[in-house]
Each structure stands twice: as C-alpha cells, then as structure tokens.
C-alpha cells in the first residue's frame, strides 16, 4: 500500500461508453477531492471478498481538472485481465466504495510547447480528456488523433469530433480507417510536442517514427499503463526479516509483497515513477521498467518490483 493517505470514494455513476469500456464517477465520502493537473492518474484499490485477492490498478483521471466535485475514470475490460478490469466491470455498481490514491502525474503537458499533437489508442483517450479543457482555456494549438475499434472501444469519439471539430481526427479501424503516423509527424512545426497513450504497439510506433525522422526524443511523451505482464514464478526472500514468498506467474513482485502486508511506496505501478525501487541482495533480475538507467540495470543492485521479475528461480531483496 502506498505510504500516502488513501481517499475513500463512492461510485456515483457507471456508464457503458463503448462496448468494452465503462466509465465510473467517483465522489469523496468524508473528504473533499483535490483539483489535479492534466494527465494525472489515481491508483484504485479493489478489495475483493475474503480470501479474494486485492487488485490495484492505475487509471487516468478523465474529468475536468478544475472540477473537484467528482473524479471520473474509464476502464477497458481486458481480454487477458489479471482481475482488476474484470472486477471493475462485473463487481462494481453505483453506491459501492473504493479506495483511491491521491492524484499523481507522470504525464503532464509540456506547457513550453508551441503545439501539442496527441495520439490516443482506444482507452488511451482518457488522459487527453483532462488535457482538453486546459488546452482550450489556454488557447494552445493542438490536434488529437484518436485511433480505436468501434466494436470494442471508441468512447467519446462523437462528442470529441463535434466539440473539437477539425482539431480532432478519428480513425476507426473497424471501418478501415488508419492513421498515417509518419505523415502526421512530418508536417509539424518547430516546438511541437507529441503525446501518446494507448497500446504498447502505438507507443513504439510513434517513438520509432520520431527517431527515424530526427525529431528530438525529449519532444515525445508517452504513458505506459499496461501494468505488470506475467512471467515465470519465482521465490523471493527478504533478507532483513527472513520472510520467503512465492511470486505466482500472473502476480507482480509488488503485488506479492503487498499481499504479505509489506508496504512499498508506489505511484504508477508501471515501471515509470521510480517510487517502489528495491535493493537486490542476490539473484538475477529481468528488468522491465523504463525508470532505471542502463548502468543501474547492469549493476543488478536495484529493481522495480511493480513490473520487473527474477530472471531465475530465486531473488533476495534487501528489505
């Protein structure tokens, strides 16, 4: 669990906004919600029934950052859900309570930019929904390129094209419409920043296109909230307490530690923020994060338990 105080919230509305996406409105129960910055997310804790696992997933806040009467998140039902999105879709109804972390932001707009180009894939539209009110208020130049499959995703696409008019380009793959990313990127002026949120393949594609064209890497921003991917099971030993835990193939190391009531600070649960860094005493690590530098990964002395795993059968952490 995070070391920061959690906020308890009540689900005030649930809306099916696309075949595979549900939107949840959250209202504070005993405190006031704080305003947040565009691109912020919260980690939602889903406490299941007794003997059921607790899930924690990060979701972008998609409501207007100035509106502190409620937060809204959108959850895509993942075909290979490890539990979180399934829980949100099937177990959560209006009136239910959830715990959320205070908003944290690892994907804020670069306000020095002369122009903002947003690439959204499917439910990856959510962080940009919190960008739009502020981009419009600041009269910033921007364009949104929204790629989806209307048989699964595509939430808000009609409203967006209506309100944003020519600043919004929709690409529905189920209707054969594709975004030519290279063409979009090629014609942008000096000072343009690019933002990508969506499946890994979209992030990779935008980054590779930028690199090939000679667009500075620091002008490309992306949000990876894919969550921990499964891997081989392994055993982790905690050297200070002597505790040994088995990490199942579909659980992350962080989740396993949390399951044993070991508190590790964390914000993103996706290998980006760096909060959950742990010292490694023994064992090879399969690094999967984008936080540690190459030399740090090579050293084998630190790891990010939210996404990274043991490369072998055993790992000893200095905690």
């Amino acid at each position: 669990m995070s070391v920061i105080d959690q906020i308890s919230v009540k689900v005030s509305a649930v809306r099916q906004v696309a075949p595979m996406i549900k939107e949840f409105s959250l209202e504070a129960i005993d405190a006031e919600l704080v305003p947040f910055s565009p691109g912020a997310h919260v980690v939602v804790t889903m406490a299941g029934a007794e003997n059921e696992p607790t899930y924690r997933n990060a979701y972008s806040l998609m409501s207007n950052p100035q509106d502190n009467s409620q937060y809204r998140i959108a959850v895509r039902l993942q075909e290979d859900s490890r539990g979180g999105s399934l829980f949100m879709h099937h177990q959560i109804a209006v009136g239910d309570q959830l715990m959320i972390s205070p908003p944290a932001n690892l994907f804020a707009p670069e306000w020095m930019a002369k122009k903002h180009v947003l690439f959204a894939g499917g439910v990856g539209i959510t962080p940009f929904l919190s960008y739009l009110p502020e981009l419009q208020q600041r009269e910033s130049e921007f364009e949104l390129h929204y790629m989806f499959r209307s048989k699964q995703t595509g939430a808000y696409s009609d409203e967006l094209s209506e309100t944003l008019d020519k600043n919004c380009n929709n690409y529905d793959a189920d209707k054969g419409s594709r975004c030519d990313i290279a063409a979009v990127m090629a014609e942008q002026p000096l000072g343009t920043h690019f933002y990508v949120c969506g499946p890994q393949s979209l992030i990779d594609s935008v980054r590779a296109t930028a690199d090939e064209m000679g667009i500075p890497a620091s002008a490309v921003h992306w949000e990876e909230f894919a969550g921990a991917k499964p891997g081989q099971p392994f055993v982790v030993e905690l050297s200070r307490s002597g505790i040994e835990l088995a990490v199942a193939s579909d659980s992350s190391l962080l989740e396993t530690l949390e399951g044993a009531d070991i508190e590790i600070p964390n914000l993103c649960r996706a290998g980006v923020c760096g909060q959950c860094v742990c010292k490694v005493a023994e064992g090879e690590v399969e690094h999967r994060d984008s936080y540690l530098s190459e030399p740090e990964k090579q050293s084998g002395q630190v790891m990010m338990p939210c996404v990274s795993r043991a490369a072998g059968e055993r790992l000893v952490l200095d905690i």
């Binding site: 020095m112 000096l190 000072g191 690199d211 064209m213 000679g214 667009i215």
Partner: protein, 173 residues
C-alpha cells in the same frame, strides 16, 4: 545540452566532444566572432542541408530569425564563449528547440560572466576569485553555480563578516 555534474556543482556545465546528429535533416552552425576549427570540420563533414553563420551579438535579430526557421528535425551547433553560447541556446529554447537539439562546443575561453547577488550587475571577463563587481565594487566570491537564465556564475561578497580579511586570489576554470 551537457549538464553533467562536475566538481560536485550540478549547475556547472560540462562539455563533451560534439558530434553531428546523424538523424537530423538540417544543421545550423553558429559561432561567435569566428568559426572554430572544430566547428569548421563538423560543418565540412556534414552531408545534408546545412548553414553556418558568425555573429558577435547573441541577440542579433537575423540570428533570432534563423533560429525560428530551424525545422523540428534540425540540430543547432554553438561555438564561442560560454555566455554567448548559453544566451543563443536560451533564445533557441524560446523558439521551440529542445535541449537535445542543441549541441555546444567547449567554450573558447575560460572567462566568465559574474552575476552579483547584491546589485544584480553582470561583470564580464572574470578569470579569478574574488573579483571586483563592476556594479557595486564589492569583492565577490566567484562560485561554480551557473545560472542558465543569465548565462553567468553566481557571485556574493567574499568573507562578508570581515572584509579586511580577503581569501587568497585563485584562478577559476
């Protein structure tokens, strides 16, 4: 831009050898007063669209125009004194360039601009510490804290408790 830690002061710029950005479609080379040998050989080795120009004033209006005309895929190379290259870099960032689009060659001289925290005057041509402020006349300790906004090093009154006891004069590098 090279801003690695040096001598424990994070803000003191460190300069590593400059190479051409192989991905860039356009290269702009700007030198102060005269093109250095290092810059000339980089320019000669550059096979794509390129321009080279010499200025004495980092805020020259033609220079600002050419910075604004750099494409998103361009790279800027700078040679000259430290205050000059950082001032041009600052204009370039205003024009929309990212730090990783700006490559600076090691300054041609070790002369510093010194910002006085008492009178806010910038004293030029500083090579040793303490140094007399051209604004208020105080003896300033020359620190390694480099302010990118002013392209100058931070200075404060040396041994303010006892001005009759000045620290020994030392060269700054």
């Amino acid at each position: 831009m090279q801003t690695e830690q040096l001598n424990g002061v994070v803000s003191k710029p460190a300069y590593s050898p400059v190479i051409l950005n192989p991905k860039s479609r356009f290269h702009l080379f700007i030198a102060e007063q005269a093109v250095t040998g290092e810059m000339q050989s980089l320019f000669d080795g550059c096979g794509v669209e390129k321009e080279i120009a010499v200025y004495s004033d980092a805020s020259d209006s033609r220079l600002l125009e050419s910075l604004a005309a750099i494409p998103l895929t361009g790279t800027l190379y700078l040679a000259g004194t430290e205050p000059f290259i950082w001032r041009v870099a600052s204009h370039a960032r205003q024009a929309g360039l990212r730090p990783d689009q700006i490559r600076m060659m090691a300054p041609v001289s070790r002369e510093r601009h010194l910002f006085c925290c008492h009178c806010y005057q910038i004293t030029e041509g500083v090579t040793y510490s303490p140094f007399i402020c051209s604004g208020c006349g105080l003896s300033l300790e020359v620190t390694d804290h480099f302010a990118r906004l002013h392209s100058a090093y931070f200075g404060y009154q040396a041994n303010a408790e006892d001005c009759s006891d000045m620290p020994e004069k030392r060269e700054v590098s």
